[in-house]
Amino acid sequence: MKTDLPESIEDTETLLHSGGYVPDRPLAIAVFLSLKLGRPLFLEGEAGVGKTEIAKVLSASLGRKLIRLQCYEGLDVASAVYEWNYPRQMMAIRLAESGGESNMSEVSENIYGAEYLIERPLLSALRPDNGGPPVLLIDELDRTDEPFEAFLLEVLSEYQVTIPELGTVAASESPIVIITSNRTREIHDALKRRCLYHWVDYPDADREYEILRNKVPEAADSLSLQVVAAAQHLRGADLFKPPGVAETIDWVRALIALDRGYLDRDGLEETLGVVLKYRDDINHVRENTIDGTIAAASAAL
């Protein structure tokens, strides 16, 4: 089922809510403008604040296909955009030879045809789809190197890909593009210039509570409130990696799995590894902030 694009900021909020995502107003504005203006949305923020989730929710609630490109160092055109099917091409040449074909230019025209082309995510995102233009998620762009960003420029500004042997493939309708980055390096300005930018921050306590109610409905309200207060408190401590929303969700699930109805000192000690992923951070919290965290958690009730 295909849903129309939202017409206003409020519609966008409703749309994201219906997909189980709790946006704050600035994020809803950024998503709305990106859909409205047909511009890629560049989301930057710490790990685990729900950047990737936005693309998933958009694709699900708009009924669009989700095409995901996970970035890594050394990602190249052959694995991101397209590749020629070399074995088939070679076979075709051999067949032409054995068939006594002497006109190689004709053969060459044939083997660089669409049927020998293997489409990778960026190219297939430009293809029309029954459900409407797909959602293209370019995930963790900061993991690639600079040359790959250059490949992306044409795709992002013109929604087209140029294949030297075949010509230009342009999208009839532009896909919805979401780019995420954890900021392990700065992305080049040329690429950012083509996008709308939004920094996804940690949610405030109210929004985080709402997220928990959405994601872990089986959790008791009191437990969710406690966990949110504790997570907010930990984010204020001087940590190497403060817990993200993903960690908060895991935390509630872990406490439920341990049959704990509320968060106390023992529960916190047992589940600290769910929330904090660095040994230094765990030690720091054990030594300095555990009392404050417990106090914040019980104050929330």
């Binding site: 206003s8 107003r25 190689m104 040359p147 210039r193 709308l196």
Partner: protein, 404 residues
């Protein structure tokens, strides 16, 4: 949509004036962004101030560190000029030129703070109202000690560039996952093989390719405390030359606090760059807090600049005001998060050096390459000292060699 784009000529003009003000404050804004901003304003209802704020924000800002400056300029332009905060926007009032002229002079002074270190100390506060308050807290920060450098002579610049030609770190180039055609490469390039088959007809010649090699990112952490003062000018000259010599160089200076000066050093004229650095750094020739400076590097910067296997060059004499407190943990983390940690110590020129200082003792076990310099008067000697490093990542071996 309450307002069509045609009826909002005044709005478009105001957006352009606003963009001009942002630009004069140091945000890189071109015509394309202005067009997007005008489209964005036409797409939303101009009722809520925060909607307008975030719509313009998504069009004009493209990195997190610009947010604060954007907030100040936004306040200055749309709120101070247009009236009380609780009044609705009146976009049809064209903001007069005289105001822009006068407002432009304010952010120009703020532009110096655009360097990320000045703006990086936010994030945790102000979750209630995400619209940035017009705080100007960092503009009046005290300057502990400023520094003047003699200008560089032309001769010095030529010498510096010549010296850099010989400059090689122990890990100078690493293979990337990009490939280029090469007659004796180990990988087969199917694409060009096929093309050749078509061209020459039938003959089956395998074309080959090999990995492209390039410099790994380089991060320099340079001590500028009192004991390092005699070398400061030369070191900065070196840092300036290397920052402009290759891509992916990040430079930090530290004494009692850590300052990222990459942005300032990128200016191609060494004198201008050094003047900017001197203005940005607040703790010239003071004490040293190596542990604390490294801790703030590890917290704030390591994940942003140590990606992709960076080499870290640590330039310090190891004399620590805090007596090496907290240094071990931080230097260990630093060493574990980079490809290779190189320590250059200029103190060793004194005869009879022994690693007695607590700071030195803390750092030594964790460096991959240790290098002492006996005479650090010229840049070429400095480059020579660094280039003569060699060998694999082997702590004990290089340490003992360096300490002899």
């Amino acid at each position: 949509m309450t307002k069509s784009i045609t009826s909002s000529g005044a709005l478009a003009r105001n957006v352009m004036s606003f963009a001009r003000l942002l630009r004069s404050s140091g945000l890189p804004i071109g015509p394309a962004k202005i067009l997007v901003a005008i489209q964005a304003m036409a797409s939303i209802d101009l009722v809520r101030r925060d909607d307008v704020y975030w719509a313009l924000h998504s069009a004009f800002v493209d990195r997190h560190s610009q947010s604060e400056l954007f907030g100040i300029v936004f306040h200055q332009f749309w709120i101070v000029r247009i009236g009380e905060q609780d009044k609705p926007f009146m976009f049809d009032d064209v903001i007069d030129e005289a105001f822009i002229e006068c407002a432009e002079s304010l952010p120009r002074r703020l532009a110096g703070a655009m360097a990320e270190n000045g703006l990086a100390k936010k994030t945790n506060k102000g979750r209630e109202s995400r619209e940035q308050p017009p705080s100007v807290t960092w503009s009046g920060s005290e300057r502990l000690r400023s520094k003047d450098f003699e200008t560089m002579s032309t001769e010095e610049n030529i010498m510096a560039r010549r010296a850099m030609l010989d400059f090689q770190l122990p890990i100078s180039r690493v293979p990337t996952r990009r490939f280029q055609p090469h007659a004796s490469g180990r990988r087969i390039d199917m694409r060009s093989t096929l093309r050749k088959m078509i061209r020459t007809g039938a003959s089956f010649d395998l074309m080959r390719k090999k990995a492209v090699y390039r410099h790994p990112p380089l991060v320099v952490l340079c001590d500028i405390s009192g004991s390092m003062e005699p070398y400061a000018r030369m070191l900065l000259h070196f840092l300036h030359t290397i920052t402009n010599d290759r891509d992916r160089v990040h430079t930090f200076l530290f004494g009692t606090r850590l300052t990222n000066v990459t942005h300032q050093l990128i200016h191609s004229d060494p004198d201008v760059a050094l003047r900017k650095v001197s203005a940005a750094v607040e703790d010239w020739s003071g004490g040293t807090r190596i542990g604390q400076s490294l801790a703030s590097f590890n917290r704030k910067w390591s994940r942003r600049v140590l990606g992709q296997g960076a080499v870290v060059l640590l330039i310090t004499d190891g004399l620590d005001r805090d007596g090496g407190a907290g240094l071990t943990e931080e230097i260990e983390r630093l060493q574990k998060s980079c490809r290779r940690l190189i320590w250059l110590n200029p103190l060793l020129r004194f005869d009879g050096f022994e690693p007695k200082s607590a700071g030195i003792k803390a750092i030594l076990p964790y460096v991959d390459d240790f290098r002492s310099v006996h005479n650090l008067d010229s840049l070429s000697e400095f480059v020579e000292a660094l280039s003569s490093l060699g060998g694999a990542r082997n702590r004990t071996g290089t340490n003992s060699a360096g300490m002899e």
